[in-house]
């Protein structure tokens, strides 16, 4: 049994995920964490006598070895580490929704303080790819930015959605670190500097990422899933009803391989083997875990695993010694093994008994009503499933439809569908009332996104009066573009927007692709190239045309730029295309984007004007206050009253101004996100190198504020004509 080597109880709350350990003076590891009231506290148990004596840092009134740092804004991310290798000690990085502060705790000075328009939702510190100096990389609204120790912006790129988690990991094993980005659109993207080398789609928002070792990394989702990836393949994952607050890799059983340590929202901490996900150690806190970090907190040369709870309880664990043989839990391994084996034996015996009883029942009388009650069904009962597109009716919107029916008079009592990402929870249940049960059920399915989904079906089959049902388990795949119905072409409604590209594939292969990715009626017969197919979206009725010429030139007409991107990415992976240059035009979308860009400029200027106003007002306040106090000293109560009244009005104005600023800022953020997304979308229309070229060219165009070039890049893929 592994016991904590130290336990501390700090009287400060800790905001989840905002915990870091750093040697801010070069020798003593100190714990920094964000706490209530927009403050960061630094716990320094080593040097009790000396305190940071400066204006920014104040001594905590509650605890002698805790100092408080005022941030005055909600802290959104925090980390510590070596930012300037010449300095020889760690810097503390604190991100908020508008700024990033790199702070030198020892000297009580700012290394830099940068305004970041896209906010900082996550921060990671380290070296990225070939960039020599360590970078503080922050992830905000669709944007990633990396700063060196002087605050120079050395790295900038965009990603698909708001960033929630970041990690540095040697993903491809080349000895250099790649950046892993988990974002709100459920994707984990891997950036080799600013090139995307891999994209993995998960089932929920990725809340945490952590490098394990080699090219393995751990991840946590907002629905309570944690797991480990080995490169692009998911190694294992588990799901809990609680939420993983923090994950960390640490070798707790001294076997040379780090385990995935997870801190949960119910106060549990567990260590899981990186290979199997098996729990090798667990402990419980009385409140939710805020962060899991590691450091030599006792300064005895041994690194401890340090877990912090939101209530300020901190426990440190030393890795298990060799004598424990990795056995960190209370129970003995043998006992557990015996229990497990006996359980298996019992299960097998039960199954055997099931078969025995079954043969007994078979030899008896033919099927009767009473049998139905006991859940006896004909042995040749089969389940048919069919996926199709339903165009809907007046009462029901169009949807994809899954029809399940039995092959005889048995009824389907209920259907459970377990699938990820297309229902509100992880499952969908269809349970008709007892009057409506029959031997077939049609289930409408409306996936919100165009992703291929595995539907795991559990169908309860029996008779009307049964109290026991047979469970038929089967898996069907819902194709990626199941929400598009094949319709007859109508040239009048053909969308103006299009993408155009050439692939070196036979038309038959394209037909196969169509069959795999769309729900085509069974009798669909597609003749040889050239041909065209037309689909209607069941979500918004938008049209989609796919035309193929004998030369292999494909034109996709749709007004939905995301859909065009999805089709190109799907084709690219199906035909294993590495690089694909695409010509695209989305007049309506581009027009919208143009407006957004103009708005961004407007909001920027309003922002500056408001800042200037505020500065003016603060000067005015100062003078009014002085004059009011003067009047008081002169015992001129009337003037004093007037001055304070003015001050009051001014204060009101300031408050209003602040509200305007806030609104302005959120609008600005929204628009910036739209711009970042536009770049990302333009990238998704291409594959491989052209994709990266588009993204970097677009970025340059935005920097130089050259809107026309931006649109040209989006259209043809390059800046040069």
């Amino acid at each position: 049994m592994l016991l904590p080597v130290f336990t501390l109880k700090l009287r400060h709350k800790i905001i989840p995920r905002m915990v870091a350990i750093g040697r801010y003076d070069g020798t003593h590891p100190c714990l920094a964490a964000a706490t209530q009231a927009d403050k960061v506290f630094i716990h320094n148990p080593h040097t009790r006598s000396q305190h940071f004596s400066a204006s920014r840092v104040i001594q905590s009134p509650l605890e002698s070895d805790v100092s408080l740092l005022n941030i005055n804004q909600a802290v959104s991310c925090l980390t510590a580490g070596v930012l300037n290798p010449q300095l020889g000690y760690d810097a503390l990085l604190v991100g908020t929704q508008t700024n990033l502060l790199a702070y030198d705790v020892y000297n009580n000075s700012d290394l830099f303080y940068r305004e970041v328009a896209d906010g900082a939702n996550a921060v990671v510190l380290g070296t990225l790819g070939d960039i020599s100096s360590p970078l503080a990389i922050i992830g905000g609204n669709c944007a990633l930015q990396g700063f060196d120790h002087e605050g120079n912006d050395l790295f900038w790129t965009v990603t698909g959605d708001n960033v929630h988690s970041l990690a540095l990991c040697d993903f491809d094993g080349d000895g250099k670190k790649e950046l892993l980005v988990g974002s709100e659109d459920f994707d984990i993207r891997v950036f080799k500097e600013d090139e995307i080398v891999a994209e993995m789609t998960e089932t929920e928002i990725i809340t945490s990422l952590c490098p394990m070792y080699g090219n393995r990394f751990g991840y946590a989702l907002s629905n309570g899933t944690v797991g480990v990836y080995d490169k692009m393949a998911r190694y294992w994952r588990i799901k809990s009803k609680n939420h993983a607050m923090s994950i960390h890799a640490f070798d707790l059983n001294s076997d040379g391989v780090p385990e995935l340590i997870t801190g949960w929202s119910n106060g549990k901490v567990d260590a899981r083997s990186d290979r199997t996900g098996e729990v090798i150690f667990k402990d419980n806190f009385s409140s939710a875990i805020a962060g899991v970090v590691e450091g030599d907190y006792r300064m005895d040369g041994h690194i401890q695993l340090i877990c912090c709870s939101v209530d300020g309880e901190i426990r440190g664990y030393l890795p298990g010694t060799a004598e424990m043989r990795g056995n960190l839990m209370d129970t003995s391994v043998e006992q557990d093994l015996i229990r497990e084996l006996s359980q298996k034996k019992q299960n097998l015996l039960l199954e055997l008994r099931n078969y025995e009883e079954n043969t007994k029942a078979e030899s008896s009388s033919p099927l009767s009503e009473a049998d139905g009650h006991r859940g006896i069904i004909p042995a040749n009962t089969k389940l048919h499933t069919a996926l199709s597109v339903n165009l809907g009716s007046e009462t029901q919107a169009a949807h994809a439809e899954l029809c399940i029916s039995t092959s005889n008079d048995t009824i389907i009592r209920a259907v459970l569908i377990f699938a990820e990402g297309i229902f509100i929870g992880e499952s969908h249940v269809v349970h008709p009332s007892i009057h409506n049960v029959s031997n077939s059920i049609c289930i409408p399915i409306t996936p919100p996104k165009d992703v291929p989904v595995d539907l795991h079906l559990k169908t309860f089959v029996g008779y009307r009066s049964s109290t026991q049902f047979h469970v038929f388990e089967l898996t069907r795949q819902l194709p990626r573009f199941s929400m598009y119905a094949l319709t007859s072409p109508d040239s009048a409604s053909e969308p103006l927007s299009y993408v155009n590209f050439v692939i070196a594939e036979r038309a038959q292969r394209v037909v196969i692709w169509l069959n795999q990715n769309f729900l085509l009626p069974e009798d669909t017969n597609i003749q040889n190239a050239p041909f065209q197919v037309c689909f209607t979206s069941l979500r918004n009725g938008g049209q989609l045309y796919i035309k193929i010429k004998p030369s292999g030139e494909i034109t996709v007409n749709t007004d939905d730029i995301d859909l065009a991107g999805d089709i190109i990415q799907s084709m690219a992976s199906f035909f294993a295309i590495e690089d694909l240059q695409v010509e695209a035009d989305f007049p309506a979308y581009f027009e919208e984007l143009r407006k957004v860009l103009i708005k961004v400029d407007e909001y920027h200027s309003v922002h500056q004007k408001l800042s200037a106003d505020m500065a003016d007002n603060s000067n005015l306040i100062r003078s009014l206050l002085v004059r009011a106090e003067d009047a008081r000293l002169m015992r001129d109560m009337k003037t004093m009253k007037n001055r304070y009244m003015e001050l009051y009005d001014l204060n009101k104005d300031l408050l209003n101004g602040y509200k305007i600023r806030c609104n302005n800022h959120t609008e600005l953020l929204g628009n910036l996100k739209a711009v970042n997304q536009a770049i990302q979308r333009a990238g998704r229309l291409r594959v491989g190198k052209p994709k990266n070229q588009v993204i970097s060219a677009c970025r340059d165009a935005i920097r130089s504020n050259n809107i026309n070039t931006l649109f040209r890049i989006m259209r043809v893929g390059t800046a040069s004509s």
Binding site: T35, T331, I338, L352, N380, L416, V429, V471
Partner: protein, 715 residues
């Protein structure tokens, strides 16, 4: 002194019922004892333990489910004859496994509980109690509600035969011959009875009881009246009690109390100088503990607690240390034993797996033929659906002998599913189209590996009634699922009680018409929980109920052709009126419903709600302040500048937050009930006041008792 017990699993038999495992008396003090256990396959097994391995002494052939297993013998000699109750039959075995008795009792129902004392045999089926002496019928009693357990005070000490029945309606019925001597009300439905110290304590009259809501108590059953000694409330919200035993595991010369609960908790209570029980040890097993006994079975000289669990595990919690300090060689030997055990299990498994594969193939092949049937025997689901008095919510507990894969919960009434900490399954709520398919709740619980027990919490609304269904699918091939149904009754939050306050202002609902006693009884069963399904033998019965949420009461008295319901809560009467008239119309019975409304009762109910509401409002307000105050504390460093009230909140912060978390949506429920009260009050007057409800909610938002009463009067 700390009690340190180590777990050792001995073997697994079939599913076991309550009180079906016993230890045979030892031949000499502290020597190893043999274990006898009976399971639901009907097998009685007796085994000893040698070097950690179970060695079978005898094993009978399968038969009917074994409901109870007791030891007996001539009084004042070692009690080593084994008696089992299976179906309506009692069988006796010697300790060598030779059957010496087979007694068909001719009871129409199967036996539920049994007690043996010398040549006296006490049996009970669901409602019937029978006393036999030398297998001859002696006495008979018909109980008003289900009998859960039966015991007789030690004849050799009190020199009279005093059987005690533990009945579902929260009473212990003390009998004399065929007659009821008196009833003792206990705080919950009693599930188990045992003699204190194994012999009835100093007086021989001390009786321990455990209830299905987890309470324990000691009562002295004297000839005239009961004397309550002590009671342990279930503060930690643990499971119901299934078995108790007295054994000196702490070895301090005083017998300790061993308790097994249906959530897998094993507890040891010691007695202090004032003879009050103190919790000394607890350990959680993963499934219901069906029997418990102290003794010595593993190793000579080491006492242990032997328990059997629902799925048939016999497990010891032994005082023997795991790692002996006698040198490195010894440990190696223990490991060797373990390894042997594991390898033998492994080979057994391999063999089984091969057999199962063959059978599986056969099963698959049978699906080709058109005549074959697929019949999978039902697995047993151990379920419990009970009302918790503390937070007026229902607990649904499902236990299966193998791991559960998933559970689908479906309800045709609006209910809320609450989160339970113990439950680790991943819940997912599904959208439901209520109109066409009668679904108000569809949720799946996907269980983690090795979950055999699932606990859910459900909050119902009075007046909304229907059925809750649970489809349980265990992780076993061929996959099947079983449906368990539970009624959500119209007055779901009411609980049986035996005494009510007659001084309260009451509203009365009177039913008259051409209906039989059985019919009116079935209506009461339909409306209210905890009423026995079987109509009582009397001509006229009275049941008392208490609303667990508001503490209002209901008195129901009915006979053939007449039913009278009295309650101080007008909403209760209103619900009864609606449900009864609906039921009667359904059965085409002409029913005259008369009601008498007492205006004062509304004020009285509001006054009853007042302290609860005020407390909740204050609590909510305080909890809201905690974070802000804590921030101030961090900012200023001390709290001296705060007014005492705020300082008090800070000091109690943790406690307040815990209290607040314990009762989610309590305030909303209170508001809902006040609104119902308001609507119902005027419904009886024939006015519809639904339009005034927003106004009422406004008044509740800025709550003041007098304003509320005034509003009720004025509207």
């Amino acid at each position: 002194m700390d009690l340190n017990l180590n777990r050792a699993d001995y073997l697994q038999v079939g599913v076991t019922a309550q009180k079906t495992m016993k230890l045979l008396p030892a031949s000499r003090p502290r020597a190893t004892q043999k274990v006898v256990i009976g399971d639901q396959d009907g097998v009685v097994m007796c085994f000893g333990v040698k070097k950690g391995e179970a060695v079978t002494v005898f094993k009978t052939l399968p038969g009917q489910k074994i409901a109870r297993l007791e030891l007996g013998g001539v009084l004042n000699t070692p009690q080593e004859k084994i008696f089992i109750a299976a179906g309506s039959e009692i069988r006796g075995f010697t300790k060598r496994g030779k059957q010496f008795l087979s007694f068909e009792t001719n009871l129409t129902e199967s036996i539920k509980a049994m007690h043996i004392s010398g040549s006296d045999l006490f049996l009970s089926a669901s409602y019937i109690y029978n006393h036999y002496c030398d297998c001859k019928d002696q006495h008979y009693y018909l109980s008003g509600d289900k009998i859960n357990d039966i015991i007789c005070l030690p004849v050799e000490r009190v020199s009279r035969i005093t059987p005690v029945l533990a009945c579902q309606d929260r009473v212990l019925r003390v009998l004399q011959g065929s007659d009821l001597m008196y009833e003792v009300e206990v705080p919950g439905p009693p599930t188990v009875l045992a003699l204190h110290n194994g012999n009835g304590g100093d007086s021989g009259e001390d009786l321990l009881f455990g209830t299905s809501d987890g309470k324990l108590g000691l009562i002295q059953i004297t000839t005239s009246s009961p004397i309550q000694k002590w009671e342990i409330r279930n503060e930690k919200k643990r499971g119901g009690i299934l078995c108790v035993d007295s054994f000196d595991i702490v070895s301090d010369g005083v017998k300790d109390l061993l308790v097994g609960r249906d959530d897998g908790m094993v507890e040891v209570y010691s007695f202090d100088n004032t003879n009050e029980p103190v919790l000394r040890f607890d350990q959680a097993l993963s499934e219901s503990v069906t029997s418990i006994q102290g003794g010595c079975i593993g190793t000579d000289g080491y006492d242990e607690i032997v328990v059997s669990t629902y799925s048939g595990w016999v497990t010891g919690l032994t005082t023997e240390p795991v790692h002996k300090e006698s040198g490195p060689g010894e440990e190696l030997k223990i490991n060797q034993e373990m390894q042997n055990k594991i390898s033998s299990l492994r080979s057994e498994l391999e063999h089984l797996q091969y057999k199962v594969l063959q059978e599986r193939e056969k099963y698959q092949q049978s699906s080709q033929s058109s005549k074959a049937k697929s019949a999978v025997p039902s697995f047993s689901v151990n379920d419990k659906f009970i009302l918790n008095k503390d937070d007026a919510s229902y607990s649904l507990i499902l236990e299966v002998q193998t791991a559960i894969d998933n559970v689908l919960i479906q309800s045709d009434v609006p209910i809320d599913l609450l989160d339970v900490d113990k439950n680790s399954a991943v819940v997912s709520f599904s959208s439901c189209d209520s109109e066409s398919n009668d679904n108000f709740l569809l949720a799946t619980y996907r269980c983690q590996a090795n979950t055999t027990r699932l606990e859910l919490k459900i909050r119902s609304i009075e007046g909304q009634y229907g059925t809750l269904q649970a489809y349980v699918t265990p992780r076993i091939q061929p996959k099947t699922c079983q449906v368990c149904q539970y009624q959500i009754k119209p007055l779901s939050l009411h609980q049986r009680t035996h005494f009510i306050d007659h001084g309260r202002p009451m509203n009365t609902l009177t039913l008259t018409g051409q209906f039989s006693f059985a019919e009116v009884h079935s209506w009461v069963v339909f409306c209210l929980p905890e009423v026995p399904e079987k109509p009582p033998a009397e001509e006229c019965v009275t049941f008392y109920f208490q609303n667990t949420f508001l503490d209002t009461q209901l008195e129901s008295t009915y006979r053939k052709g007449e039913g009278v319901f009295k309650s101080d809560n007008i909403s209760t009467i209103s619900i009864l009126k609606d449900v009864l008239s609906k039921e009667a119309t359904k059965r085409k019975i002409n029913l005259n419903i008369a009601y008498e409304i007492n205006e004062v009762s509304v004020k009285h109910t509001l006054k009853l709600i007042h302290p609860k509401l005020e407390y909740q409002l204050l609590l909510a307000k305080k909890v809201q302040l905690i974070d802000a105050l804590k921030e101030l504390q961090v900012h200023e460093g001390n709290t001296n500048f705060l007014i005492p009230e705020y300082r008090c909140i800070l000091e109690e912060a943790d406690h307040l937050q815990e209290e607040y978390k314990k009762q989610p949506a309590h305030l909303e429920r209170l508001y809902g009930m006040i609104t119902d009260l308001f609507i119902d009050k005027f419904k009886f007057k024939g006015t519809n006041v639904k339009t005034k409800v927003p106004l009422l909610l406004e008044i509740l938002d800025s709550y003041d008792q007098n304003a509320l009463i005034a509003f009720f009067d004025a509207a």
